[in-house]
Symmetry: C2
Subunit: 117 residues, 2 copies
DNA sequence: TTGACATATGCCGATATAGACATATATTCT
DNA sequence: AGAATATATGTCTATATCGGCATATGTCAA
């Protein structure tokens, strides 16, 4: 079995640097494909393919506008990513080793309320 | 060129579901490889390889303890992921189209204080 | 209709997986 | 030393990329 498809979820879609840059560019306003390609300095077909991936995981919406297709951000799909990562916030905000010991102590006592920051 | 290596950064390392589960299991306490393998119900070699990836991006530390190797979380590498994702929070927390207009207005004014939730 | 412009898709090549399995390496115990 | 336990690594297979290029599809204007 190979790596999971990039279209499987937002985590995989966002693992690609160019796709992250695309999403950043779409903050605040819609953009046509060519504009994105120019901004990222990547070929138009490549841009279209990245956009397709982003579309398939729902991070981006398309809107026809004449001969252009305007892509817009739909950041809701990033919320699960945020939820997952934020669960680790306490572990990078504090001195790791001391927290580690602290939690271990609590666990040995059999308590489950050791999540205070 | 193929997809970026999983070892290239935290984004890629975390794109793999099993690796995310490993990190979650390491919250609060260190664990030896076999314990992780059992908990995840995946083969030990596979677990070791995932841990290797996590080690190479610095999300995990190892400590020798007799014949065991205790893996511990080092969540600092997740902070960049968090930073990136949090930049989109306003876009999933508010009505997209109205916010879109709002941000556009701010940008035209040249202000940068529009991050209030 | 023909042409210009914008975008999507198909094909190819090179590569990096993830999983399964066998095995090497290291440590502890007897 | 030899066995048992814990972990890491090498090999093989199947697959899903990502990028480049050519080309199909679609829209608008003259």
């Amino acid at each position: 079995m190979a790596r999971a498809a990039t279209t499987s979820d937002a985590f995989n879609a966002v693992a690609e640097p160019q796709r992250r840059r695309i999403l950043v560019l779409l903050k605040g306003r819609e953009r046509p494909v060519n504009e994105l390609a120019r901004a990222l300095r990547i070929a138009q077909p490549r841009t279209s393919k990245h956009l397709r991936v982003l579309r398939e995981v729902g991070l981006v919406r398309v809107r026809e506008s004449g001969q252009q297709r305007l892509y817009g951000l739909d950041a809701r799909g990033l919320e699960p990513v945020h939820e997952w990562v934020i669960g680790f916030e306490q572990y990078w905000n504090e001195n790791f080793d001391r927290l580690n010991e602290y939690v271990k102590t609590l666990q040995q006592k059999g308590h489950a309320d050791g999540n205070r920051r």
